[in-house]
């Protein structure tokens, strides 16, 4: 029973992080029709901003230091940490805005695939800067609760898991209400038909900018919560999360449907539950399934779902015109 609870907690926590990343993809896709392959690089940059703020107490090329940051060897309190988190997210959003202005805006109206590949190019171009900053040592993101955990009916549940779940819940609520706001409606209109939206007086450029800003912030949020113990980088930004990150999330958004907010959350939870439970309960069959089989479970689930429902569980079916 403890094992079941532990596994479930881990699955939901991982699912929450997947969901945050999924929301980032969906926001950008719904607003701008771009499948953002650069999410990996952006999210890692966001986590790096966090580390620079909290561990280095300010950017090396700026003349002032961060007065809020905890002294050497101390950890920030939860409230202070959240303040830093917010600043890091804002910085990530600014990065998203810049990328959108430089690379995405000129491509408005181009085929979907060209837009997706542009982000692939961005990913490749940004990555060396990220890797460079983390090359030598792990960079701390100063998680206040470190490796602490709670006990629930004999099961040990790390605080990081709960934090990830809370973060995902807040992100989902935020995005949900955002879509119901006046601006969210504008965004949906733009996604539906750019020209018609323009004719209605909607500023399409601003919609693009907002979508990318929010998307980048969400991507950074996902990476920071994935950088906590006991997830592999354990409280630091490291080379480890980055290369694999985005390709673990792709099945999530495909499963949920590229343009569905609820789908991103459902897809994230579903994929994580399949992945973690398969890892936990099929482990005695590793000889048959092959080592590391749980890594490809998301892809198998994705393939099966797609062959039954080609636009994901919640995605909108494309109407094929001649």
């Amino acid at each position: 029973m403890e094992i079941f609870i532990q596994t479930l907690a881990k699955a939901i926590a991982l699912g929450s992080i997947y969901a945050i990343m999924g929301l980032s993809f969906v926001l950008i896709f719904k607003g701008t029709q771009v499948l953002n392959f650069a999410a990996g690089a952006i999210s890692m940059a966001g986590a790096l901003f966090m580390s620079i703020l909290i561990a280095d107490r300010g950017f090396p090329f700026l003349p002032f230091t961060n007065p809020l940051a905890p002294a050497d060897g101390e950890t920030a309190g939860v409230a202070l940490w959240i303040v830093h988190l917010m600043i890091a997210l804002i910085l990530a959003a600014i990065l998203g805005l810049i990328l959108e202005r430089v690379a995405i805006r000129p491509m408005v109206g181009q085929p979907l695939f060209s837009m997706a590949v542009i982000t692939l190019g961005l990913e490749i171009a940004i990555r060396p800067f990220n890797l460079d900053a983390t090359a030598i040592t792990g960079r701390s993101v100063g998680v206040p609760w470190g490796t602490e955990s709670w006990e629930l009916a004999g099961a040990i549940i790390p605080k990081s898991y709960v934090a990830a779940i809370i973060a995902a819940a807040i992100a989902f609520t935020g995005v949900y209400f955002f879509y119901r706001s006046r601006f969210g409606v504008a965004m949906r209109a733009v996604a539906f038909d750019q020209e018609a939206a323009m004719a209605q007086g909607i500023n399409v450029g601003r919609v693009f900018a907002i979508a990318w800003g929010l998307g980048a912030a969400l991507a950074a949020l996902g990476a920071i919560f994935f950088a906590m113990a006991p997830w592999p980088p354990a409280g630091t930004v490291s080379l480890e999360i980055h290369p694999i990150w985005i390709f673990r999330v792709l099945p999530v958004i495909i499963l949920g449907g590229l343009d569905s907010v609820a789908g991103a959350v459902a897809g994230g939870l579903l994929i994580a539950i399949f992945e973690i439970f398969a890892g936990q309960y099929l482990s005695q069959w590793t000889n048959i399934l092959g080592p590391g089989y749980s890594t490809i479970v998301p892809y198998i689930v994705m393939l099966v779902v797609l062959l039954v429902r080609p636009y994901g569980l919640f995605g909108t079916e494309e109407i094929r015109r001649v």
Partner: protein
């Protein structure tokens, strides 16, 4: 612009030093066979008064006939004034952080050698190429080093990684190009791999020592020794895990979870769940630091308590000690390694390394990796010096010279010989460190303090299994 001036200065200094004659005559080991004249780095230049003490009967050269530097036979990579050696390193791939420090210290080593007059009156020039740990790029770099003309080298003093080394092994033999691999896999004892020089101990032996040490520790703590082995696929993982398995069989330890090859892919839930279920009291890991952080972090967070250790590359203090897992590593993990950590003992070699590195790279950050680069430098210098004494600095001559030498690392790593049967010469000693998260403090070298957090508890440890094990080829 600075580089050239520096080189000119170094050469000038070198000439002065050579003219002044031998200043520091450290007598080399020469303990086993009296006739292998080894490593007299200082006075082999152009002073020309050093009739070889005892000639090398086995190599069949004409002994004293060629005692002047000018008469040394050469083919590629050696000119009258320069010796080119190649470094095929991973400076941008997954091991860039480690390898760039290793390469840095090897470069410093050559700076020091050149200042003392070089080898056979020639300046040693290391050429560095980056493989990014990609096999095809590594092969391309090798071809560049192996070319028979400008840009070719006389030996490769570092080749990062087992995969690339495996890919070039055959070509290296064809080209008679001596290679020092940056890999401790026990893959190279075979006859046809004479051009690949294994250095220090192997993963396989390291695992035997580590498991034996862990067993003693666990039993001293009053627990029953129950071993779990986890490793990643690939030669590294298989070699380390095989050694652990051999040790467990010989020592009669029960293996409660055998996770050989199981740490693969990005999700390790299966491994963690089986590990936690197994009830092991000791864990041997042959993985990467990222994988270790995942498995270790999640297993411990699920309440799994055991003593952990693993092959050297499993753990990396710069990557893992800044993480939130640091106190847990301090408590449960014991690092294993191949040489003394930075400033870890008072040996002559360590003092030289520390003072040279500090003087030449004051801004560089303290690192245990410098020792590995230094060791590669000592190996290459000893071999090239031997080749010069043999009067044959052709590529084939260097390969032949490598089979005659015994190398004295002056206390920073177990001494090594290539002169004998594999089972007689293989290095069987490894090092075991206590992970000390409190002591961990990376400072620039100029500060003269700080520590990697690796506190030696066993130096040159040889367990009973490793001491007597007879190899009939690679472990795996």
């Amino acid at each position: 612009m600075k580089l050239k001036q520096l080189l000119a200065l170094l050469m000038a200094l070198g000439l002065v030093a050579a003219a002044c004659g031998g200043s520091d005559d450290d007598s080399s080991s020469g303990s086993d066979d009296g006739d292998t004249a080894t490593a007299e780095s200082s006075d082999d230049g152009d002073s020309g008064d050093d009739g070889d003490d005892g000639d090398d009967g086995d190599s069949g050269d004409d002994g004293d006939a060629m005692e002047e530097g000018a008469e040394i036979a050469t083919d590629f990579g050696v000119t009258d004034t320069q010796i080119f050696v190649g470094i095929n390193g991973d400076l941008s791939g997954p091991f860039a952080a480690l390898v760039s420090e290793i390469v840095e210290s090897q470069v410093v080593y050559w700076e020091m050698v050149n200042e003392r007059g070089g080898i056979a009156g020639r300046e040693v020039v290391p050429l560095v190429l980056d493989s990014g740990y990609a096999t095809d790029k590594g092969i391309e770099n090798f071809e560049e080093f192996a070319q028979e003309g400008d840009g070719g080298v006389v030996m490769i003093t570092e080749n990062t990684g087992s995969p690339i080394t495996a890919a070039i092994a055959e070509d290296a033999a064809d080209n008679d190009l001596l290679v020092i691999p940056l890999s401790w896999a026990s893959l190279w004892p075979a006859e046809e791999n004479v051009a690949i020089l294994e250095k220090q101990t192997t993963y396989c032996i390291e695992s035997m020592n580590g498991v034996e040490w862990l067993k003693n520790k666990v039993e001293a703590d009053g627990k029953e020794a129950k071993l779990a082995i986890i490793s990643r696929p690939g030669e590294y993982g298989l070699d380390g895990a095989t050694g652990a398995q051999i040790a467990a069989e010989e020592l009669g330890i029960e293996i409660v979870y055998n996770g050989i090859d199981q740490v693969a892919g990005d999700d390790r839930t299966a491994v963690i769940s089986q590990l936690v279920d197994s009830g092991a009291t000791m864990v041997w890991t042959t993985v990467t630091p990222g994988e270790l952080a995942d498995v270790f972090g999640q297993a411990v967070s699920q309440g799994f308590e055991a003593d952990w250790s693993g092959n050297g590359p499993s753990f990396s203090y710069p990557a893992l000690l800044p993480t939130d897992l640091a106190p847990l590593f301090d408590q449960y993990y014991w690092q294993s390694g191949y040489s003394v950590p930075w400033n870890g003992n008072d040996s002559e070699g360590m003092q030289e390394l520390v003072s040279e590195m500090t003087a030449r790279r004051p801004d560089a950050v303290l690192s245990d990796q410098y020792i590995t680069g230094w060791i590669e430098g000592i190996m290459a210098e000893t071999i090239l010096t031997q080749a010069a004494e043999n009067g044959d600095m052709t590529r084939a001559g260097v390969v032949a010279a490598s089979q005659q030498v015994s190398i004295d690392f002056k206390g920073i790593s177990p001494n090594q010989s290539y002169n004998g049967a594999y089972n007689d010469i293989v290095v069987r000693g490894s090092y075991i460190f206590d992970v000390d998260a409190e002591a961990f403090n990376l400072q620039p070298l100029s500060a003269g303090e700080g520590s990697s957090g690796m506190i030696p508890i066993e130096e040159n440890y040889i367990g009973t299994v490793a001491a007597s094990y007879q190899f009939d080829g690679p472990c795996i």
